[in-house]
């Protein structure tokens, strides 16, 4: 199913005018209308606003005070908090979906955070920049320096991102903690899904970021 088929928002993923980011549109499309959603690391609330247009009851946590206050000033239900320390305060099964959009790599304990996401939510949607992306590999291999991209412009010494991983790494983590992947997408530099069904290693090379819809595995 393509993004355009699923959404009445019109041509966002193909670069036409639109107020929402393509990766947000993809995430929103994974959420069933009428659900209750927690967006962890919700930034300035763009994704929550998109979810609201789809009749979804959205809540948010954001680390930065400025981000929180902008969200609250937009009328969103957002609280100041830290994914590493504040998720423990939420009860089991409190949400239908918990979203962690472009935030996993900035947490101190990604594994614990991921486990908490799937404790609080029946499903989790996780997106993160793929360090296996060919441009990243090339910068390290040829340039000999830590990779920087349009989406991750910070230098190694002032980045908030402390736990980078590749799509392959993430898939292995999910296996290790018995998390089931219901759906996986790799996005290109512009946030558009790679259309073709390809093996993991191809996605790991050509996906600039990965987006995963996760549920609890049956093994535990």
């Amino acid at each position: 199913m393509s993004v355009q088929e699923a959404l009445p928002l019109g041509g966002l993923a193909t670069g036409q005018s639109g107020q929402f980011r393509a990766d947000h549109v993809l995430v929103a499309e994974m959420v069933k209308p009428g659900s209750k959603v927690l967006d962890v690391g919700c930034g300035e609330g763009d994704l929550l606003q998109l979810l609201e247009t789809r009749g979804i009851d959205g809540r948010g946590i954001e680390l930065s005070r400025e981000g929180v206050n902008r969200c609250v000033a937009k009328g969103l239900a957002v609280v100041q908090g830290d994914a590493d320390t504040d998720l423990v305060n939420y009860p089991d099964d409190a949400f239908d979906y918990v979203i962690l959009s472009q935030t996993l790599q900035a947490t101190r304990q990604p594994k614990v955070v991921l486990e908490n996401l799937l404790r609080i939510g029946r499903r989790a949607i996780v997106s993160f920049p793929n360090f296996g992306f060919w441009k990243m590999r090339l910068q390290l291999l040829i340039g000999g320096h830590m990779p920087r991209t349009e989406n991750l412009p910070a230098s190694w010494y002032d980045t908030a991102n402390i736990h980078f991983c590749t799509i392959k790494d993430f898939v292995e983590l999910c296996d290790a903690i018995d998390v089931k992947m219901e759906r996986a997408e790799a996005l290109d530099l512009y946030g558009r899904p790679l259309r073709l069904r390809m093996p993991w290693w191809v996605w790991n090379l050509f996906g600039e970021q990965g987006v995963f819809l996760l549920t609890r595995g049956g093994g535990k």
Binding site: D57, R59, R65, V68, N69, C71, V72, A73, K74, G75, L76, A77, V78, V79, Q80, G81, D86, N89, Y90, P91, A94
Partner: protein, 400 residues
């Protein structure tokens, strides 16, 4: 002898102040013997009255009512000239045409709390059983008692569900008590610079204030009214101590530093050499013009007793289980009386109850008092929260 300048006597007489106690310059709801107020201490208070102000008009489906809960030394005169001091209403920054709480959109109610001294029954009122001022014969009241009385007023006004309950500090405690006691009657709440329980440090400051009042010989064991006196020195000291807790080190330093008051050199006396001393003395002496000393004792006591978790088996989240009310919690970075950690504990409990909550901490050096001052970020958040709640409630922009 070293020069001493004591706090001046109030310009307004005790008679002028006490006139508002029984004959307030606002609307009054009387509750007779058939409608006693059940107090937590076990006493039925009856008869009693609640003085209140309203702004704007109640809409046809009675869905646009906002109750404002005032802080320790506030009153019902939110957005009109104060009948005793002649100063503007205490929350005109937030309430008024074009402000976040706009009477053109909402029906805004604010009542003087039970135990207060601006027209609602309190220790300065006349005890109908004796024909004399209640004084310390008045039963000790709690925050839940204040809210119970407000609910009776809301019933009287024919309102089932309040669109919002809004308040800061002690007003915020009442806001939270509303959600704990009457969750289905409150659509949304704005709880500012407050806590679900009074901390040991705050109880300590209140005890200091009460002891200052009681140490004044004019207090007469609470019976000063019978002697035609008012312990204005003790009450002024209490106010001065409390006022320091409403500010911050940074705000005091910015406002006054070590600057001298109308002089170049120290006088080598206990005169108010420093601007900050002069300011505090002014705060103390202007406060006693409009406030009753016993009322101050009762209201500080009510705050001390406040502990929502304590009323729910020690688990705060239990107080909010299954609640549908929309919460907006606001704290200020330099508030050390009700620090952000208190708001965060509330937010964690609300999260655990899966309540819909927004929480913003606003950066300011103005301390606890920031909620009464011109802080644009706070207004933006209040406005957006109420607008968003209004949309969910089905209130249109010109729903008056």
């Amino acid at each position: 002898m070293v020069g001493v300048q004591s706090i001046p006597s109030p310009a307004i007489t005790a008679d002028e102040r006490s006139h508002e106690v029984d004959h307030p310059s606002s609307q009054v709801a009387q509750f007779g013997a058939e409608q006693p107020l059940r107090l937590d201490c076990g006493v039925d208070l009856s008869p009693f009255q609640i003085a209140y102000q309203t702004y704007g008009e109640l809409n046809a489906d009675r869905s646009n009512a906002i109750l404002i809960c005032h802080a320790l030394t506030g009153d019902q005169h939110v957005a009109n000239v104060h009948p005793v001091t002649g100063k503007p209403g205490w929350w005109e920054t937030l309430v008024g045409p074009g402000r976040p709480l706009d009477p053109q959109h909402y029906f805004i109610i604010c009542s003087n709390v039970i135990g207060g001294c601006m027209g609602s029954t309190g220790p300065a009122s006349i005890n109908p059983a004796t024909g004399k001022v209640w004084g310390l014969e008045f039963p000790v009241i709690t925050i839940p008692d204040m809210v119970r009385a407000q609910a009776m007023l809301i019933d009287r006004l024919g309102i089932d569900t309040l669109f919002a309950v809004v308040g800061g500090s002690m007003g915020g405690m009442q806001v939270l008590q509303w959600t704990a006691a009457y969750p289905s009657r409150v659509f949304s709440v704005l709880a500012i610079a407050c806590s679900t329980r009074h901390s040991a440090q705050n109880i300590a400051f209140h005890e200091l204030g009460r002891q200052a009042v009681m140490a004044d010989p004019d207090w007469h064991g609470g019976g000063y009214a019978d002697h035609g006196l008012h312990p204005h020195r003790g009450l002024a000291v209490a106010r001065m101590a409390a006022h320091i807790t409403y500010l911050s080190d940074a705000a005091l330093h910015r406002k006054f530093g070590r600057r001298m008051q109308d002089r170049e050199l120290p006088t080598f006396s206990f005169d108010a050499d420093f601007q900050v001393e002069s300011y505090l003395r002014y705060q103390g002496s202007s406060f006693v013009e409009r406030f009753d000393a016993n009322s101050y004792l009762y209201l500080t006591r009510a705050m001390d007793y406040f502990d929502i978790a304590g009323d729910h088996g020690g688990v705060l989240a239990k107080a909010f289980a299954g609640i549908q009310t929309r919460f907006c919690v606001v704290s200020f970075t330099s508030d050390w009386l009700f620090p952000t950690s208190e708001s965060r504990a509330l937010v964690h409990a609300l999260n655990a109850s899966s309540a819909r909550v927004s929480f913003a901490e606003i950066e300011t050096d103005r301390g606890h008092d920031a909620f009464l001052l011109d802080v644009p970020e706070f207004f933006d958040i209040s406005r957006a929260f109420l607008e968003s709640a209004g949309k969910a409630r089905g209130l249109t922009a010109k729903n008056a």
